[in-house]
């Protein structure tokens, strides 16, 4: 709680900040609901002949969250990096809206939150967000200042990112996700480094994103409460 500014962040009032949001602009939502936003068929990945996960079959529909659970080293991060396109799967295929996931389709459909914040320490929080919006695009009618207010970082706009704590950096990257026009969020350990209020924030952001017709994959090692939404579970066992 000490990480938050003294004034109560708008995000603290449930529903208030999110109610004003325009719906996500993504064409997929108007398509037939039968085509999942993301589907994996026989997806497997191995590192040096050592299988990391899979083969896996799963699908995520619009308005749905997939909770990827597993112990440390069970391949949760690797799975998300494969889905994002940072790693190449050894077997299986990935489909986005029923079509094979090529880089262009991925880039428009997927927003990825990894372990590294992708923030430049010398730049202010706002400058960082402006750059990332320039790179990834931005949802219409959404502005970095408002996104920072939603994630409880109002008042830190002009602070250099290097002065932020790990939890505050996570909140800034959550603001980046909020601004992204992509309908599918891949969140790798979104609860890490966050306080109780931050965990709540992630759950409320995910709920609002799903309500707007998006979908979310999130990894957790099981210690946190899942968002109160339609959730599928994917349990990753160890390599054994």
């Amino acid at each position: 709680m000490t990480l938050l500014p003294d004034t109560v962040a708008p995000g603290n009032a449930p529903g208030q900040a999110f109610a004003a949001m325009p719906p996500l602009q993504c064409a997929a939502m108007t398509d037939t609901a039968s085509v999942p936003l993301l589907a994996a068929h026989g997806l497997a990945f191995a590192r040096n002949e050592e299988p990391v996960f899979g083969p896996l079959d799963f699908a995520v529909d619009a308005g749905e969250a997939l909770l990827v659970q597993g112990s440390n080293g069970s391949g949760k991060t690797t799975l998300l990096r494969v889905l994002a396109g940072l790693l190449r799967p050894d077997a299986g295929r990935i489909e986005i809206e029923g079509r094979p996931a090529d880089p262009a389709r991925r880039a428009h459909a997927i927003a990825y939150l990894g372990h590294l914040p992708a923030l430049k320490g010398e730049l202010t929080v706002l400058e960082n967000l402006h750059f990332l919006c320039g790179l990834h695009g931005r949802r219409p009618n959404q502005h970095p200042e408002e996104a920072l207010a939603i994630t409880g970082m109002a008042g830190y706009e002009d602070a250099p990112a290097r002065q932020l704590s790990a939890g505050q950096k996570k909140r800034v990257t959550l603001a980046r996700m909020w601004l992204s026009p992509a309908p599918l969020w891949l969140l790798d350990e979104p609860y890490a480094n966050l306080d109780l209020d931050g965990i709540n924030l992630v759950n409320r952001m995910v709920s609002a994103h799903l309500r707007d017709g998006g979908a979310t994959l999130l990894t957790t090692h099981g210690a946190y409460a899942a968002p109160p939404v339609r959730t599928r579970m994917l349990e990753l066992g160890g390599a054994a």
């Binding site: 880039a107 997927i110 590294l116 430049k120 790179l135």
Partner: protein
């Protein structure tokens, strides 16, 4: 701002970010120029300050080597910072081609490291008794050659970005690639100093620039994808 950024918009955002970063660390930005100055001073001291030797044989070559080495030192910062804080992951996932971002980043790097170097070249020339008449030709070859050095360097920097510390490996990989640029760059100045036509080697350098501007970002992008995988 539209939902999906165009090439120009992404390039502008990246250039603006890089210029801001350089401005915040403007002390660092002077380092390549100071380094080149010191190398030139070393040449002068080692050769005993003999005016005849310097102006006839050494000046343009020593300046070319000094500029090349100064550029080499700044290569490691091209992608390393972005790899360490996760920015490169976001570049790969962006809806614009990675090679385009690499090209823009390399241009920004050239703008902030090589251009300050070019600005001090007249001063370096005075240190080494460079005949004033040779200065325009020297500047022209550096203007054509330093972008090639940056582009070739981008490939090397991308290849070594996955290593914890690349150190001297960058130099070992980059210097052999720099040889043709150095030979034709310093060579053109020497040729024109003798009153001969240097347009052949200048055109060759321009061809190197065009070829590396097209091919180097593609190669560097492929290397970054492998390093981030």
């Amino acid at each position: 701002m539209s939902a999906t950024p165009g090439l120009v918009q992404a390039a502008r955002a990246l250039l603006l970010r890089d210029l801001r970063l350089v401005w915040r660390r403007r002390g660092d930005a002077l380092q390549p120029a100071l380094f080149a100055l010191l190398v030139v001073v070393m040449f002068g001291l080692a050769l005993g300050g003999e005016k005849k030797v310097l102006e006839d044989f050494v000046a343009p070559h020593a300046i070319w080597v000094a500029v090349l080495l100064a550029g080499l030192l700044s290569l490691d910062s091209l992608f390393r910072g972005d790899a360490e804080d996760g920015s490169l992951e976001q570049w790969i996932l962006a809806p614009v081609p990675l090679a385009w971002l690499v090209a823009v980043r390399t241009f920004g790097h050239w703008l902030t490291t090589a251009v300050p170097l070019l600005l001090v070249v007249p001063v370096l020339g005075e240190f080494l008794y460079l005949p004033r008449a040779q200065l325009p030709m020297l500047m022209l070859t550096l203007l054509l050659g330093t972008p090639v050095l940056s582009l070739l360097g981008a490939v090397v920097a991308a290849l070594t970005v996955g290593l914890k510390r690349s150190g001297i490996l960058v130099a070992l990989l980059a210097l052999p690639l720099y040889v043709p640029v150095l030979v034709f760059g310093a060579g053109s100045v020497a040729v024109s100093a003798q009153g001969l036509d240097a347009s052949g080697s200048l055109l060759l350098m321009a061809a190197m620039l065009v070829a590396s501007a097209v091919l180097a970002p593609l190669a560097a992008a492929a290397a970054i994808r492998i390093a981030q995988g």
